[in-house]
Amino acid sequence: MSGNERNTDFHGLGRLMRSFTAWDIRRMMLLGWIAAWCLVLSGNVFGQAVPGVSASVKPARVTVGEVVTYEVSVDFTGRGQPSVSVPVIDADTGLSTPSNARTRQEREQYITPQGYALVNKYVFLYNIRTSKAGKFEIPPATVTLNGQRTQTNSVELTVADLPQAREVPKELEGLVAPPLVSGNPELQRRLTGGIFILPVLAKNDPYNGEQVRVSFHLVIDPDALREARLQPRTNLDGVTVPSMNQFIKEELFPFPQDLSFKERKIGDRHYLVAPVYEAVIASTKSGELEIEPFHISMYFSQAGGSQRSQLPPGFANDPFFSNLAPLSSFGTNTIRVIAQSPVLKLNVKPLPAGGQPSNFGGAVGEFEVTAEVDKRQARAYDDTISLRVKVEGEGNAESISAPELPQMPGFTVLGRPTTRTGGQPTDDEYVSTKIFEYTLRPTQPGNTEIPPVQLPYFDPEGEEYKLAVSDRIAMEIAPGTRPVPTPVQVVEDEEDPDETAPEVDLRYVSADPLPAPGGGLGRIWGALGVVMFLMPPALAGASMAMAWVNNRRATQVVDSRKTFRSASNEHLREAGQALSSGDYTKMAAELAEGIRLHFAARLQLSVAEITIPAIEENLSQAGAPPDLVSGISRVLETCDSAQYGGGLGLNQGSARSLNKEALALLKRSEDFV
């Protein structure tokens, strides 16, 4: 069969199939392979499918106080970086706005409706804190990908009330917070009052700055654990110590490696109590301040399973947990329980303003001041003396500022004192110390003393300001052995005694802050300097340019004055000729024009401004006598009357006398304009 026959003979599939040669099949396979790759490429490169977005919350049922995870999942092909705009939730509703975002990114390859593609999966995780019970609907979040915005589904969350606490002894009322057991309200109810953190605060209404001892204890009721069939399974999961940001905190007893439980009977119940944390705190401001809850997260096994549990190191040596050991053979369900303390509230009182010493530096407590020196004997100027002022007592030393040193004639204080703070817990109090170390230079030989150093402080027990005073320190200052150098006479300048006064010692180093380089006048060497030094010539140049323009205008005025003057002369000459020829009308017209241009040239007025009143005014201002002013007015009026009356009233004699008078008046006026 020839190729031509194959192309024209298409009757039936069988004949068609038979008509293909092996070469045709290979060519079709190649085309199919290319088409498949096009599909893949179209899915990967050109596919910008609408992203699949969804939202969920885990767990969907919790109790008040628990934190849930709000999860937004975004699946899409192609390129892009999705961003999520979480719904804003009013905290008063009982849920917090999703916060503390974390992102997880995954990539998977599979066939999508757009083709075989690499699917990007982003999971955005947020925390939502619950504070009220109820059924909530979290509004949809908005996902933005490559400028396209898509909304997720809304999510339902059920928050159940905390179970009522079991009966707790009256002594513990208000001090017990229910534990957090995620997703198991029944167990939470059983454990409430059975496992909790007990806060102990030495004083609820301290003065601002007063040191108060606060401690936390893990309290467990073994009966409650037995009833719940719980036993400790692993080590402690986590501990959250309250930050106490509004206080200055000195830790006395950090969270221990091993808990040491002791049995205590509170009311009619037996508890196992282990101290977990202790600190002394001092408030930084007055008002109602809070201490956040203390959390201890633990894992327990619930009896009923097959796995054998192991006691954690923290509980291993405790007799209570040893008693629970038989239960360990049944443990299988791991349950996380977070024991917590309630929020502690302190009503911090402000320090009384009355009687506060002017040099009060913030010391609150009960303090003693001692002062000592490193040497009692020194040489003037040669030696330096270290004066150590130690403030010690029950109170917050950290906030005490350096006491003002008394006047010390014969000593110079060099620089600022160095400070060192420390503290030592005793059985029932915490003694803190602050040491201020001053460097003194003796300047006067002889037997002298360092006067007592005083520290005012507020005593919260006595509720009054007191004064702690150190002892005097006797000193023996010998004359210095260093020869006093002769000053260098720099120049013969006897008028300024300060500059040539002998220097008995090097002056002390500068304690000013180190200046930043390149500041101040140094900038003059840069572009600023160029601009600055271009300003004066620019100003002068601009002024001269303006003056040149003004001069040019003035020249034009002068030119116009010259023109007026020559025109005036021309008109006056014409008037003379008209007089000779007997044309008195023309004479009057030329004479009037000549007079007006004469004054236009001299008074720097335009032709339009040359009126008889203007001429009178300017001449009067220039000091011309009244007869001259009135004469010129009269001549102009006569000329104007003759001009517009056709020479009426002028004969040869009167015209000649008018011309003569006009010329005489103009000549007289030159003395004034």
Binding site: E398, P483, T486, V490, L506, L539, A542, S543
Partner: protein, 271 residues
């Protein structure tokens, strides 16, 4: 409670203490100092000084200066600490530099006088640096009383006033004002011409003189390496003029008698 600044200060102090004996507190590190770090080291120097540890204080101030924070307080403290250590020539050089940067500072002048007095009493009394600083001419005192920048600022103000006078003279129509403007312009011109001389001298002295002092006696070589022949010995306190930029730890200088050669960079301090 120890603040973050306190912790940083402690680390810096420790670093300086450790490096004080070994000399390993390198310039390369110092060059990367931020202003905050430089201030910490400067404060550390003050703390050392306060406790009588003058060598450590000098080293701390030196780090600050080497890092490029070349201000009058840094040189003043460095010079004062060196004076306490007993390195008088070095102290003199640094104090002179401090005075160059802050010519009217009383403390700098006082300590400079003190060190000069000590050196004149001692054996180094005749050194050129002492001679130079102790016998400053009236002219040097006049132009050195102000910084070059201050001279320029004064001249600028005068020029600006003169330009105002020119403007008044050419723009006003009132003859009296024009006359006053001309007077101001002429006066400003004369004053500028007078001030340009000390200003120029101060600019030359501070920016182009390139003077240095030898702080420890060292040979001047014909090339920038130890293998080159010795041209002369430069004694401590001798003044030289810096000719070229540094290379391989050497710099070309011209000594007082006009001879040129190479000296180790660490043997001199720029004035």
């Amino acid at each position: 409670m120890i603040s973050a600044r306190g912790v940083r200060m402690a680390v810096v102090l420790l670093a300086i203490l450790v490096s004080a004996g070994t000399g390993h507190f390198q310039k390369a590190h110092a060059a990367e100092l931020t202003l905050e770090d430089a201030r910490d080291i400067f404060d550390a120097g003050n703390s050392f000084y306060q406790h009588g540890q003058f060598a450590e204080a000098a080293q701390a101030y030196g780090e600050v200066v080497d890092a490029g924070y070349r201000s009058s307080p840094a040189y003043y403290n460095l010079g004062t600490a060196e004076a306490r250590v007993g390195s008088n020539t070095l102290a003199l050089a640094h104090l002179a530099r401090a005075q160059k940067l802050d010519p009217r500072n009383d403390d700098v002048a006082a300590n400079l006088r003190f060190v000069l007095g000590s050196m004149q009493q001692g054996s180094a009394g005749a050194s050129p640096i002492v001679e130079k600083l102790a016998n400053q001419s009236v002219w040097e005192r006049i132009h050195g009383w102000l910084l070059a920048e201050e001279w320029l600022l004064i001249i600028w103000v005068i020029l600006l006033t003169g330009a105002g006078g020119v403007s008044l003279a050419v723009l006003t129509r009132r003859p009296q004002l024009a006359m006053a403007g001309r007077g101001v312009a002429i006066g400003a011109g004369i004053l500028t011409l007078l001030l340009v001389i000390p200003a120029g001298a101060q600019i030359y002295a501070s920016k182009f003189k390139n003077e240095a002092v030898i702080i420890s006696s060292s040979p001047m070589l014909s090339g920038p390496a130890q293998r080159f022949t010795q041209v002369q010995i430069l004694a401590e306190g001798q003044l030289v003029r810096l000719m070229d930029h540094e290379s391989d730890g050497y710099i070309r200088v011209q000594s007082g008698d006009g001879r040129t050669g190479y000296v180790r960079l660490r043997s001199l301090v720029e004035l």
